[in-house]
């Protein structure tokens, strides 16, 4: 039976990255279509925190490997280990969530497996050996159906397009393996985490985003976000200016979000920004310029100064609670 192997991602704090659950959900869909078995793999210095969680996600086997070299993620040490496992299992599909790690790691795994790859897959078509991958191109202005004409097919998955795998679905068999640890040309130096008390951007139910129109003053954006228990996002322009950290950027080159409610304040709606939020369920645009392209995708638009609207909106939401 062919195998779909999904690479799990552990955060620096030891927890499983939420996008992995969506990747496992996607892996299940693919395994059904391809008539394959779902396996998961985790490389870690200490997998104990997440193995139990991975076991209950409905996969057949969870493969884990531990080595001190796996403490900090590096493509050069992770890729050979994943590729070695994929080869020994004779896996037909190798995938992971389209996180920074997934995008860094999977092409290197693919190169090692002489496999073709699709990035940011949003769905699967076909069946059996003729699976096709649906993915966006040109900043989401084109949806393409792609065939990977190599025996092994590698991909990353856009988390917002797949349901998260639920826990408690029986217990997968856990197998440990001991890959040859390669690498040595790259070393980890440090990681500076941007900590936030707010929900994670790609997982939040509501996102409040600010653009150039804020002139760098995010106080009202943050206050509204807190009232709505929302995550804060930003356009490229405000990240470039250094007004907010880069990891808040939403767009083709930043994060892709698809919350229930997306509020864009002072964001014109350039193509590259729309690529990152167009799939949101309900979009609200607040902008002084009635011609701003953001109004073309907004369900509700308000042509007004954001510094007037945001406090009023916050108050109205608060009162209605």
């Amino acid at each position: 039976m062919s195998i779909v192997l999904i690479v799990a991602e552990q955060q620096p704090d030891g927890h499983l990255r939420k996008a992995t659950l969506n990747a496992v959900g996607a892996g299940k869909q693919l395994a059904d279509k391809a008539g394959a078995e779902l396996h998961l793999v985790l490389l870690s210095k200490d997998p104990s925190k997440v193995t139990e969680e991975l076991k209950g996600l409905g996969a057949k086997v969870v493969h884990t490997a531990t080595a001190p070299e796996f403490e900090h993620y590096l493509a050069e040490t992770y890729a050979p280990a994943i590729a070695e496992l994929a080869k020994s299992l004779n896996a037909s599909f190798v995938g992971a969530a389209s996180t920074a790690q997934g995008k860094d790691l999977l092409p290197r795994v693919a190169a090692r497996l002489q496999a073709a790859m699709a990035t940011d897959v949003m769905g699967f078509g076909g069946s059996g050996a003729d699976i096709v991958f649906q993915r966006p191109m040109w900043a989401g202005n084109v949806f393409a159906e792609v065939k990977l004409a190599t025996p092994v097919k590698v991909f990353t998955l856009r988390a917002t397009e797949f349901p998260a795998a639920a826990g408690g679905q029986g217990a997968a068999e856990v197998k440990t393996f001991s890959p040859k640890v390669e690498g040595g040309k790259t070393k980890f130096v440090d990681f500076k985490e941007v900590k936030s008390a707010r929900p994670e951007l790609t997982e939040a139910r509501v996102v409040v985003s600010g653009g150039r129109g804020t002139k760098g003053d995010f106080k009202e954006i943050e206050a509204l976000a807190d009232e709505l228990n929302a995550a804060v996002g930003a356009s490229r322009a405000v990240c470039d200016a250094g007004w907010v950290p880069n990891d808040l950027q939403i767009g083709q080159t930043g994060k892709v979000v698809a919350p229930q409610l997306y509020i864009a304040a002072g964001i014109s709606g350039a193509i590259q920004h729309l690529a990152g939020m167009k799939s949101s369920k309900t979009i609200v645009a607040i902008n002084k310029d009635p011609e701003a392209p953001i109004f073309q995708v907004a369900d509700y638009g308000l042509v007004e100064d954001l510094f007037k609207v945001l406090p009023a909106l916050r108050e109205a939401v608060h009162k209605a609670k």
Binding site: M117, F143, A144, A149, C239, D240, T253, L261, Y300
Partner: protein, 265 residues
Amino acid sequence: MKILVTAKRVEDPESKIKVKPDGSDIVKEGLKYKINPFDEIGVEEALRLVAKHGGEVVVVSIGGKEVQEQLRHALAMGATRAVWVNHTGTLDQMGVAALLQKVADKEKPDLVVLGKQSIDDDQNQVGQYLAEYLGWGQATFASKVESLESEQEKSKSPALHVSADGKSVRVVREVDNGLATIECTLPAVVTTDLRLNLPRYASLPGIMKAKSKPIEELTPQKLGVDVTPKVQVLKMASPPARKAGIKVPDVATLVDKLRNEAKAL
């Protein structure tokens, strides 16, 4: 040091992309083309590194003769010379990485700098494939700590830190939830993120000088690479259109609509 940088020809990011009715391709008529914005950042970074450490910047592009425009653009920015891999058919990232591997074998650069992704196929793969093919370290999504409006940026100093002995490069990478710093032994592959730098404009003297800079012509055959695409785009379609929205007059109406119509609050 010798730095090899890429200059892919892509549709202008501001252009409106439409799919042909038969789904075979995008409508190319009337589109403007330019160097992939991430590659332009790569050229800029290479120029800054060479200004500090000495050496040369070799720019490479793959495509029909029209890609000479992008090579000339990089030469006008200040690159030393260019390599043009003449190929007119469809290419995938495996083909591109295999061709770049051969060019790197020939040129023996200390560093290859590519954009993290090209804005047409949005794959974000070539740098990583190339690093594996070459057996080198990789540092993707290279960024920096300062903003693009900082003093450091205005002084045009490189964001990639080459060690004093010239044997390694330290790179700040833009990842989920923060910035990771890694150090790669040279030679290595680096891919650029948006906030690595602000590319310079080509000056008029630069443009004039670029005309006489050499462009070496190669082909996949000469390099001995089979570029038959393994990633085959079967069909293209426009994304589903969103239902037309409405403009609301005030906050009260907005809250009412969000609560009762969209049920989003």
